[in-house]
Symmetry: C2
Subunit: 305 residues, 2 copies
């Protein structure tokens, strides 16, 4: 299963009751974070899932509302007792930006592994299978998808029939070959078809990009910016390279995602609920993001093992 | 008169319901700010006094909890329409720190005037008469006092007796010489004795310093750190170069200030009220700071002009 929390739903500047857009993921006790604006660590503290086990922080881009919370968060992670390395992923220039921002937090008791992207890239950080996609904003910006893969189902009957000793089943399940009394067993002998994992996609700040529907395709959850709810604000959205509620909904529909959460509201959008219909008319399973809106997504039939 | 608001009362990291320690001053529609940690701009927005007219930001030192809110605040000030220069004052190294932190906010539509101090210094920014004092922390750190001077009282009787035309009174009051029908009038002819201004002192983070009582002497308000309330934590206070409630109170008493507000509580100090007696036993007019605790200090007899 994967726990997901939207730490904030605002864009541009932190507002009372509305922290900046950031997504937090938890799987098997390890965490991944996407974006970290001013105040993200406060929302994370209210959420109460902890700081120590954050293994990767992904940055969409370097506008202040997506990254200025980093130096404070790094110190707080340090205070939590972490000493393992922490991976930071972002567009080209991340090293320079991190070096600048951490001018006041040099004494972090763990290593920072900085990865700069120049194009769509894939990463594997623990169980988090990460993909990125270049977007169209006023600066280099990337969308991310995070997938938790699931092992194929173990065919108990086949294993019993072949006579594989039970203590060797877990090795086969993990994809390893085993030998017993002169016979060799390979995973394909006992593993069924691949099973669906859990996929979450996160996209802000951008104009709609042609490749987005395919990038988010079949996501269990798609978290997407909707800076304005009102369709009449399309000129402003185009000028500042952002998306309307309706544009996010069209991507969700075309990408056949399961559920869409809107986020990154303009400070001027004080009542996003008044415009939700502009999205639900296109994609009915659209929900308004709010600070610490969270959910748990299970693998299909996860309870029936 | 001078309006004063404590924007936060926490130290080390921003906590739910407790922003980082920062003081905001308003006089004649112009603002001065001391320290700007992560989230300071949110507290300022809740307070609602505005952003545009901040003319000076003073930094005590460069630990993250006192300065990482700067890049976000600068962008928000820019969004408010400001185009006048903004003065930043801090210890030596301020330029490098500001340059690092603003790596993500280079496009600010106003000039930054950076002033680095190497010793106790005096500044005059508009009506804000600022003094600094070196402290004893783990890094270079300064206390600040801000004084609003008051014009001497205008002697109406003397002015009438001398025959100075009424339309010239305001020039004399501002310290200018005037001439009328061949006669010259100087301010000393009509101005009474100097009158008491309003003084606020702000001190965090430090061990008690010998010169502090004189520095804060006769302040109408002394805002001072008290990282721990419990006197038993003196070893920890010494190790990390901070002050106890009782130590702040002794400075307030010795400096004969009018009122003391405690601030910069450790995140571990969840109930500062349980330890207030450790300060009030020494200095009875001690009050616990809290987010957006504010007051207005008037000149003596300000209503009787």
């Amino acid at each position: 299963m994967l726990d997901i929390a939207l730490l904030g739903c605002g864009g541009m500047m932190p507002m009372p009751g509305r922290f900046l857009t950031s997504l937090f993921l938890r799987h098997n006790g390890r965490f991944a974070l996407i974006d970290c604006g001013e105040g993200t660590q406060v929302s994370l503290r209210i959420l109460g899932w902890g700081f120590k086990n954050i293994d990767v922080i992904m940055f969409t881009h370097f506008h202040a509302d997506h990254i200025t919370g980093l130096p404070g968060l790094l110190l707080t992670i340090g205070n939590s007792g972490r000493d393992e390395p922490l991976v930071l992923i972002g567009p080209k220039g991340l090293g320079v930006v991190v070096s600048g921002l951490t001018v006041v937090s040099r004494e972090i008791p763990f290593e920072l592994k900085i990865i700069e992207m120049e194009e769509a890239t894939e990463f594997s950080i623990g169980d988090f299978m990460i993909k990125s996609l270049p977007l169209e904003h006023r600066t280099k910006c990337y969308a991310y998808s995070v997938t938790i893969n699931r092992l194929a189902k173990f065919d108990l009957e086949a294993a019993a029939k072949l006579g594989v000793p039970k203590q060797m089943w877990s090795y086969l399940q993990r994809g390893e070959e085993v030998s017993h009394e002169g016979r060799t067993y390979t995973p394909d002998m006992v593993m069924g078809q691949a099973r669906k994992g859990i996929k979450v996609a996160y996209c802000t700040d951008t104009r709609p990009v042609k490749s987005l529907p395919d990038f988010v395709r079949d996501a269990d959850l798609f978290v997407c910016e909707g800076i304005y709810g009102d369709n009449d604000k399309i000129d402003k959205a185009r000028e500042y390279k952002h998306m309307l509620f309706s544009e996010a909904a069209r991507i969700a529909k075309e990408g056949e995602v399961n559920e869409l959460w809107l986020t990154h509201y303009s400070p001027s959008l004080t009542k996003p609920e008044e415009f939700l219909y502009n999205a639900t008319d296109i994609f009915s399973k659209t929900f308004l993001g709010f600070d610490r809106k969270n959910t748990t997504i299970k693998f299909e039939q996860e309870d029936i093992l």
